[in-house]
Structures are given as structure tokens and as C-alpha cells.
């Protein structure tokens, strides 16, 4: 039982990050109809951002994380303006190819700047921590989980209860009608992409201290995010959260009890099962956002 609980907890903590990655990706797809293959690279760059600010420059971890969020919000905005805006009216595969190009470019840029050697961010909190009965928890994991859930919940509140959030949802539902109502849909695109980028970067910054940071770390994160988004339903916000947590737990239990070699296959089995039984995603009945 203790072992099961530990697996469950491990899974939920990783699942929180998957959910965070997933909502960023699903937002971008939902609003902009862009399949963003550079999402994993934003995650990687976010981790490098925290490495640079926290480890190399000695800025406190939480401040580094906040700075990373802001910097990548700006970065996402610039990318949208320079790369995606000019391709706005092209068929869906054109911006998709652009993001593939962007992901290769960013991964190699990181390779040049930081070299391929994996880097250790270092622990912002004491390493050995809380022992709750038979279960081990470390402060960093608890922090990561709480931070991920808070950001997800905050994003939800923002979409639901602010004027800007309403405008974004309106753009999601009907881009032309929203434009007719005086919403600047270009600005909505820019904000959404910047926001999604920032979420991915923060996810990288959160997981960075637990794992290592290296230029190719984005590839796995990217495939997991896609699994989450597809299983949750494309553009489905709550679906992404549910799928993220589910994937984390499934992987943890699968690796613990079935076979660790097939751990990464579990994500794809999940996609296949969901696509067979619920082709529009776990919560994919109607397209909604927020």
C-alpha cells in the first residue's frame, strides 16, 4: 500500500508538469490553430533560463522563475510576431513546418550557447525532506506540484473572469465574429502564444532542479505534451489538465508495476486508447475553453 501511494504521488507530481505543458500547447492550438512543435524547446530554454539566472548569476530561485516567465512571455510574443504572424493566412501545415524549423533552430542554438554537456541547476530547497509515514516527499517536488497547480488554476481564472480572458475565449469560439465585435484578434494570437511559451518555460524551470538541463531535453517533453493534448482533446483546457495528471500517474504505476522499459510507450498507448474510445478527447464532447 505504501509503495502504491508513493507511486501515485510521484505520478501526480510529474503529471502536474505534463498538465502545465499541455495547457500551453492546447491554448496555442485552440486559439491560433497552430500545432506548435517548438513547445518542448521553449521548455528546454526555460530550464536554461533558470540555470543562467539562478545557478550562474545567483538570483534567488523564485525570482529567477518569475524572471524566466516574463522573459519568455516577451520571447513568445516576438516569435509570434516575426515567425507566425506572416504565415497567419496560410494552410495549417505551413505554420506547423515553421514551428518544426524553429524547434531545430532553438535546440541547436542552445547547443552552441551552452554546449551539449548536461548541467545541474542545483537544489533551491534542502534535498532530503519530509517523511510522511512510509512515503518520502522532498520540498522541491511539493513545490513543483503546488506551483504547477496554482499556475493552471490561475490561468483558468484569468480566462474565465477577466475581460481579456473573455476576449481570448471569444476569439477561440469564432474568430470573425470576435473581430466584428472589435476584438483585435492579432493581439489575441500574440498574447496566447506568448502565454503558452511562458507556461512551457516555467515548466522547464520547475523541473530543471529535479532533472538535468541539456539542449535536447525538449524532444521528450514535446512528445509528452502532444500526448496530453491529444488525449485531452485538441484545444480542451480541462481535458489537458486531466490527461496530464492521468499520464503522470499511468507512467508511474506502469513503470513501477509493469515494466520500466515501456514507460514512454504508455503515453502513446494512452493516446491510442483515447482515440479509439473517445476520438474527440477525454473531455472532448464540446469545444470549450477556460
Amino acid at each position: 500500500m505504501a509503495e502504491f501511494l508513493q507511486h501515485l504521488l510521484n505520478g501526480l507530481m510529474i503529471g502536474g508538469i505534463y498538465a502545465l505543458m499541455g495547457i500551453g500547447l492546447t491554448l496555442i492550438f485552440g486559439i491560433m490553430n497552430v500545432v506548435n512543435f517548438a513547445h518542448g524547446e521553449f521548455y528546454m530554454l526555460g530550464a536554461f533560463g533558470v540555470l543562467t539566472l539562478f545557478t550562474f548569476m545567483g538570483i534567488p530561485y523564485l525570482v529567477s522563475l518569475a524572471l524566466t516567465a516574463v522573459l519568455f512571455f516577451l520571447f513568445g510574443g516576438i516569435v509570434e510576431r516575426l515567425v507566425l504572424r506572416p504565415l497567419k493566412d496560410q494552410p495549417v501545415d505551413v505554420p506547423m513546418l515553421a514551428t518544426i524549423g524553429l524547434s531545430i533552430f532553438l535546440a541547436n542554438l542552445a547547443l552552441i550557447i551552452w554546449d551539449p554537456t548536461p548541467k545541474d541547476i542545483g537544489m533551491p530547497f534542502p534535498l532530503v525532506g519530509i517523511q510522511v509515514g512510509p512515503i518520502s516527499l522532498t520540498p522541491i517536488r511539493v513545490f513543483v506540484f503546488i506551483a504547477a497547480l496554482s499556475i493552471i488554476f490561475g490561468s483558468h481564472l484569468f480566462l474565465r473572469y477577466t475581460k481579456l480572458g473573455t476576449a481570448i475565449r471569444a476569439t477561440f469560439q469564432d474568430r470573425n465574429a470576435a473581430a466584428l465585435m472589435g476584438i483585435n484578434t492579432n493581439l489575441m494570437n500574440l498574447l496566447t502564444f506568448a502565454w503558452g511559451t511562458s507556461l512551457a518555460a516555467v515548466a522547464g524551470g520547475l523541473l530543471g532542479p529535479i532533472f538535468q538541463v541539456f539542449p535536447t531535453m525538449g524532444a521528450v517533453a514535446s512528445s509528452k505534451s502532444f500526448a496530453v493534448v491529444i488525449a485531452g482533446g485538441l484545444g480542451n483546457f480541462p481535458g489537458a489538465i486531466l490527461a496530464g495528471l492521468l499520464l503522470g500517474v499511468a507512467e508511474s504505476l506502469g513503470a513501477g508495476y509493469i515494466s520500466s522499459g515501456y514507460r514512454d510507450a504508455i503515453a502513446f498507448v494512452l493516446i491510442i486508447v483515447v482515440l479509439i474510445f473517445r476520438p474527440t478527447g477525454l473531455l472532448g464532447k464540446a469545444r470549450r475553453l477556460g
Binding site: E3, H7, D115, D120, G122, L127, V128, F211, Q212
Partner: protein, 407 residues
């Protein structure tokens, strides 16, 4: 001028024949070596190198390449090979079997290299071997541990020579103290999921079981896996007293970090030769690696353990002089030894820089390097048996316990 060079070539060829000590009939080689000397004089001899320069183990590959560079500079500073400078042509194999095979193909067809050193991981080397057989070009394997590489039925075996120990040799060397001195009675095996990790798990299981220990679980994780908490959680609750880890330094660091997160106390032993403890420590912290055991083939500051103490001393100084990262030295030595072995083979081939001659000369090489003496005395003359040492991390320092050297 031309006469002098010709004379030099003859002299070196003569020296090579003397060194190889009544190896092959010398008569037919003389005119041939003369003609190759004339056409390619002064032009560098190209040696192909396939290493991962990108991907999850790119750091290891770049360390090996730094050893290659030191070897090339040292050899060229001492007059080159057969009077000609050597040049390493490095190609990225990403430690991916397909990419490594492509890289080897490219080196052979585009750069016309007569010999290749590579390809780091076992799965990659195994994928390169058939390419070598197809083109009839020899391969010197510098890092891989899988036993399969030295099996005569493996495609490309006749063209492959290995200076790194197979996992079996690590198991042989450590068998006497695994259970008895380290107390590894109930062992959980945690390996990377490829030919290397699976091969190591197999031979160490045998070694442990034949000395009275027991293997209670075997887990295999992907090379890119970063979260091993599930596996460690299971191991923690399984009653294992020790964990045997076979994977790269980066992944070992991740595993040890999570091992500490779970507050585990099991004895840790890592194997495989890409586990240089200083590298593991730099990727985590001294507290995380404290008290962990590692099997290594080269201890940089223990000159007495090397095949050639003078060379080992020179190498450490040179490595530091170049300002190369300390984490890299534990893997760089392979590139250094490997290039020297190839250079010696070319000289033993009467300076004939063609794949066939180098392949014939490689089994005759005997080189006192950084990890013992390279001599292809095993697996029908295709495998060398380097040194294997147990080291333990104490206060951020690498310590070589004495009990391993027996009574």
C-alpha cells in the same frame, strides 16, 4: 630531397618490420611502400572517428574527442606516423545506431578513411560493424561494453577490434569482492535499455549469483529517461541491499539524486566505463555521490595503475594544461589510447595506409597506454583486456580501496 624521403620511408618500414618481430614476409612490401610513400608524402593520414556529439550522451562523445585531439597532437609532434602527420576526421553518430552507421558510411566513402574509431555505445558500434564489413575497413571500438561485439558470429567481427572491456571482464574483475566485500547480497539491477545495459545486467547477474548473492529485480530505462522515481520506489520497498547501475554519467547523476530524494540507503555500484565519478558529481553534488562505488578503467592521478606511468603523468598534465573540463578526463583517455593503437597499427602495416593492411596489423599491436596494456589477445585477436578498478567517492574525492587487490 625525394631520395631522402624515400630513404626515410624505407627506414620506418624497416623499423616497423623489426617491431612486429618476424611477423610477415617482408619482401613484397618494399616496392609497394615505396610507391605509396611517393604519391602521398606529407599528406596527412586520415583516421575516421564516430562519436556522439549531439543527443543525450553528447558530453561523453566530446570528451572522447578531446582525448583524440591530444593523441593526434602528441603523435604529430613526435614526427607523425611513418613520417606523415595524422588527422582525425570526426563525424557525429549521436549514439544512435542508424546515425552512427551513416556516419561510418560517410567517412569511408567521402573521406576515404582507411580505419575508423567508434562508435561509443554498444548498439551504435554493433550497427557500424556491418558497414565496416561491407567496405572492408577496420573499426577500433573504444567505449562499448556489450559482449556481442566480440562474438565471431556478429556481422563485421573480422573487422572489429576493441580496447574497452566487455561487461564480462568487469564482472570477472569485480566478482571476488561484489558479495564478499561490498555486501551486495540482494541486488537490484537498474540499467539503460540497450545492448550495453542488458549485456551488463546479464553478466553481473551471473557473477553475483555464482558468489552467493541474489538478484531480486532488473529494471531497464530509456537512455533519455529523467524520472526513475517509480523504479527506485519499487526497489526501496523490495528489500534490496544494493543497486547495480549501468548507464551514462548523466543518467547516473539523475538516478542518485532521486535515490537521495527517497532517502534510500542501499549500496550503489555503477559499471560500464561511462560512469566517471567526478563527472557524476559535477552533475549532482558531492553529498549525492558520497559513499557510492564505481567500476572504472582509468584513474587519472594514479599513474602506478596505468599501462605506462610516464604517459599517464604526461597525459594528466597535458589535459590540465589545455584547460579541458575535469569531468571529461575519465572518458577522454579512450580517444587517446585508441588513436595511439591505430597509429601503431599503421606503422606495423609497413606504413601501408590501406584498410586491408591496417586490419592485418591491428592484432599485432601492443601499446602501454592509460588503461593498462592494449593487446588483442582475446576473442580470436579482436579484444584487449584493460584494467578494471573499483573506486569509492569520499568527501568529493576518488579513492581506490585496497581490498580489491586481493591478499
Amino acid at each position: 630531397m625525394s631520395k631522402n624521403r624515400k630513404l626515410l620511408v624505407y627506414l620506418v618500414a624497416l623499423l616497423a618490420i623489426l617491431l612486429s618481430a618476424c611477423g610477415q614476409p617482408a619482401a613484397p612490401s618494399a616496392p609497394e611502400s615505396g610507391s605509396t610513400g611517393q604519391t602521398t608524402q606529407g599528406e596527412p593520414i586520415k583516421i575516421g572517428v564516430v562519436q556522439p556529439l549531439t543527443g543525450p550522451v553528447a558530453d561523453s562523445g566530446s570528451y572522447v574527442v578531446s582525448g583524440v585531439k591530444i593523441a593526434v597532437d602528441r603523435i604529430n609532434a613526435n614526427g607523425g606516423v611513418c613520417g606523415r602527420p595524422i588527422e582525425a576526421v570526426v563525424q557525429d553518430g549521436k549514439n544512435d545506431p542508424q546515425e552512427s552507421a551513416n556516419a561510418a558510411e560517410l567517412l569511408i566513402t567521402r573521406d576515404k578513411v582507411p580505419v575508423i574509431m567508434g562508435a561509443w555505445g554498444s548498439s551504435s558500434s554493433l550497427a557500424v560493424m556491418p558497414v565496416m564489413e561491407k567496405h572492408k575497413v577496420p573499426l577500433l571500438v573504444e567505449t562499448s561494453s556489450s559482449g556481442k561485439i566480440s562474438l565471431p558470429e556478429t556481422p563485421g567481427f573480422n573487422w572489429t577490434y576493441r580496447i574497452s572491456p566487455m561487461s564480462q571482464m568487469e564482472a570477472d574483475a569485480s566478482q571476488s569482492y561484489l558479495v564478499e566485500k561490498l555486501g551486495m547480497k540482494n541486488v537490484a539491477i537498474l540499467s539503460v535499455n540497450n545492448d550495453w545495459g542488458r549485456g551488463a545486467a546479464e553478466v553481473f547477474k551471473k557473477a553475483i549469483e555464482s558468489t552467493g548473492g541474489k538478484v531480486i529485480s532488473e529494471d531497464f530505462v530509456e537512455q533519455s529517461a529523467t524520472d526513475v522515481l517509480p523504479q527506485l520506489t519499487t526497489i526501496k520497498n523490495s528489500g534490496a541491499d544494493s543497486i547495480l547501475i549501468t548507464t551514462s554519467a548523466g543518467q547516473i547523476a539523475t538516478m542518485l539524486k532521486q535515490y537521495r530524494e527517497l532517502g534510500m540507503t542501499q549500496t550503489v555500484l555503477t559499471t560500464g566505463g561511462s560512469n566517471y565519478p567526478i563527472a557524476v558529481m559535477n552533475l549532482s553534488s558531492p553529498e549525492i555521490v558520497e559513499g557510492t562505488y564505481h567500476l572504472v578503467f582509468y584513474v587519472p592521478d594514479r599513474f602506478d595503475l596505468a599501462g605506462s606511468p610516464e604517459l599517464a603523468e604526461w597525459y594528466l598534465k597535458e589535459y590540465q594544461k589545455r584547460g579541458l573540463p575535469e569531468v571529461g578526463i575519465g572518458e577522454s583517455y579512450r580517444g587517446f589510447d585508441g588513436i595511439h593503437v591505430i597509429a601503431q597499427a599503421i606503422e606495423l602495416a609497413d606504413c601501408k595506409v590501406d584498410a586491408q593492411s591496417i586490419n592485418a596489423a591491428l592484432p599485432k599491436v601492443e601499446f602501454a597506454g592509460l588503461s593498462g596494456i592494449v593487446k588483442f589477445a582475446e576473442a580470436n585477436g579482436h579484444q584487449s583486456r584493460p584494467n578494471v578498478y573499483l573506486v569509492v567517492m569520499e568527501n568529493g574525492k576518488l579513492v581506490v580501496p585496497d581490498f580489491q587487490f586481493g591478499d
